[in-house]
């Protein structure tokens, strides 16, 4: 809007020219957004359609938008094929992700409560230390961690993927501490008068009120663990111990042309299912969590 268009019209916010211009900018925005959305979603649509194609239909060019008849058998084949061990890998991924959620939520909540409730000489410095580890790149510490877990005899087991989650995550501690800090101190005074121990103040009073914040923590921990590739690549050697990301990557062993793309896409689809379900159930938590912590 040029300055002259608004000059002198200050008393009437919605002048006719202004309104027309607003309508235009809305229409242009809408068209651009439709184009971008189409671009963003079309690869996923292609994933769905490829997962339902027969091997013959894969080779048709130009690529078909929809297969003639959906080949649901591709999905069954993943579980039937004993070589890929897809079912086992799905189980492994669930075990790791659920343990990661339990470990991270419990440990981060404990630590966050400590930082939110007490102020000691060292607490400010220690919290700064927590924050400073948020940016720490995992590759910078992965080699000694790997050597440590290998010395403990945990190579090719799921434990190195699970155990680190029981020591709190800097992001989650930060998020929960912000939440706990908003709780009224009267709550704790009342609890103390009733003779609650400090731990019961945490367990019986704070946690039940922290449901939404903990749900956010749980969701992002689950996604992070579910999608992690680097850690399993370091630790897991045998097919039956693989989690889904490394399992999927290893399925693509025959490069580029010969891989059974319909099966690969079906496997990718099934890998995305828990995330999609989570998103459908708790979309608000996603948005909040991202906005609060900047997690991607």
């Amino acid at each position: 809007m040029s300055p002259s268009a608004t000059a002198g019209l200050q008393a009437q916010p919605a002048s006719r020219a202004g309104r027309r211009e607003q309508l235009w900018s809305k229409a242009v925005s809408l068209i651009l957004l439709l184009l971008v959305t189409a671009a963003m979603l079309s690869p996923l649509a292609f994933m769905v359609s490829t997962s339902l194609k027969t091997s013959k239909e894969l080779l048709i060019y130009p690529p078909q938008l929809l297969p003639d008849a959906p080949a649901w058998g591709n999905y069954a084949e993943l579980f039937r094929n004993g070589e890929i061990k897809f079912g086992q890998q799905y189980m492994n991924s669930l075990i790791v992700a659920v343990s990661a959620v339990v470990g991270t939520v419990l440990s981060s909540a404990l630590v966050a409560f400590g930082f939110a409730r007490y102020r000691t000489k060292a607490s400010g410095f220690l919290f700064l230390l927590v924050l400073s580890t948020m940016m720490l790149p995992y590759p910078a510490i992965m080699i000694p961690q790997f050597l440590l877990f290998t010395k403990l005899g945990l190579h090719d087991s799921l434990l190195p993927l699970i155990l680190p989650n029981f020591f709190g995550s800097a992001y989650m501690i930060f998020l929960l501490k912000q939440f706990f800090s908003t709780m009224p101190s009267e709550l704790y005074e009342a609890g103390r008068i009733d003779g609650c121990s400090e731990f019961r103040l945490f367990w019986n009073l704070t946690l039940p009120l922290a449901g939404p914040a903990m749900a956010t923590v749980a969701i992002f921990t689950f996604i992070g663990s579910w999608n992690d590739l680097l850690t399993p690549v370091l630790y897991l050697d045998s097919q039956e111990n693989f989690t889904l990301p490394i399992g999927l990557a290893s399925m693509m062993s025959s490069k580029f042309r010969l891989a059974p793309w319909n099966l690969l896409m079906a496997a990718s689809m099934l890998t995305a299912v828990p995330i999609i379900l989570l998103f459908a159930v708790a979309q608000r938590r996603f948005v909040e969590g991202i906005v609060l912590t900047g997690i991607k």
């Binding site: 963003m40 060019y61 630590v111 409730r117 102020r119 990557a249 995305a272």
Partner: protein, 295 residues
């Protein structure tokens, strides 16, 4: 709810934060120090670490693959991060125009960034397939010849950059929240002063969201210094090492060539680079980032 307290409270504090204290000592601090030590040694796990002083760093200096991995990573970072940032800001601005179906657009644009990196990598390997993939088909509709994206050293890194756009949804959400946090009263005041939309965007909205921009810039750069999934899943660093990312290079040195000392030296340089970049951006930002309440 904070209070300053006596010895029993202090004990309770340390009890509550003990999981993090232990984890920090054993899984963060110890590895950082150990990796510093290893970086001055030759270490293959079978034999004890042998002290080589600055040997690893001297070797790195003459290692072509090391410099190549830096140049690949920087090229990817300096193209993908600014483009992704600008695009996600632009999308956030568009959605913030109070268009109809706001919620739908937000969800649809955010959605792909949740899907696992490996699943997206597989998908894009297939999409970029030179024979049967849809990307070349779409290009052919505009009269372009097929491009062997991932198989050609001129295009492979660009294909990965294009792919990174599908992860900009989270950034868009953060910008959108930032835009919605700009007080309407400020925009109204600017309008009453006769500022047009561009000028009020430039002088009001942009300064107000500059901390968000800065934060995303730092996180974006640090993230893309650590690209691994695409190199491991899609290209294995090829063709001809054109997608040989820095972390992939660390991974190969340590876990394929069993040169843990050499790889630790690279890991430490990565840590130093991340610290340096963060410090540099924060320092430079004092000039152009506006923090409400300061000044």
């Amino acid at each position: 709810m904070k209070r300053t307290i006596g010895a029993s409270q202090s004990r309770a504090f340390y009890a509550f934060i003990s999981p993090w204290l232990i984890g920090f000592a054993v899984l963060t601090l110890l590895p950082i120090l150990a990796s510093l030590y290893y970086s001055f040694t030759d270490y293959d796990v079978i034999h004890a670490p042998a002290w080589v002083g600055l040997g690893n760093f001297r070797e790195l200096f003459h290692d072509e693959q090391f410099w190549n991995s830096i140049s690949v990573t920087l090229k990817y970072t300096f193209i993908s991060v600014p483009l992704t940032l600008l695009l996600s800001l632009l999308l956030a601005i568009l959605i913030n125009q109070k268009v109809p179906f706001q919620g739908f657009f937000r969800t649809a644009i955010y959605f792909p960034s949740m899907i696992s990196g490996v699943a997206m990598s597989l998908l894009f390997t297939w999409i970029f397939n030179p024979q049967a993939g849809p990307f070349n088909y779409v290009l052919s509709l505009f009269g372009m010849d097929p491009i062997p994206w991932l198989l050609d050293e001129r295009f492979a890194l660009w294909a990965l950059i294009v792919m990174s756009f599908w992860g900009m949804g989270a950034g868009m959400l953060i910008f959108l929240a930032g835009l919605q946090g700009v007080p309407a009263s400020l925009l109204e005041a600017a309008r009453l002063d006769g500022a047009g939309r561009l000028r009020s965007f430039w002088h009001v909205t942009l300064p107000m969201i500059s901390p968000v921009f800065l934060f995303q810039l730092i996180v974006g750069i640090i993230d893309s210094f650590q690209v691994f999934t695409q190199a491991y899943t899609i290209t294995q660093g090829g063709p001809n090492y054109t997608t040989w990312f820095y972390v992939y290079n660390i991974y190969i040195s340590a876990f394929k060539n069993f040169r843990y000392g050499y790889a630790s030296a690279m890991a430490w340089l990565l840590l130093a680079a991340v610290l340096l970049i963060t410090w540099f951006i924060l320092k430079a930002s004092n000039r152009f980032v506006y923090y409400e309440g300061s000044r």
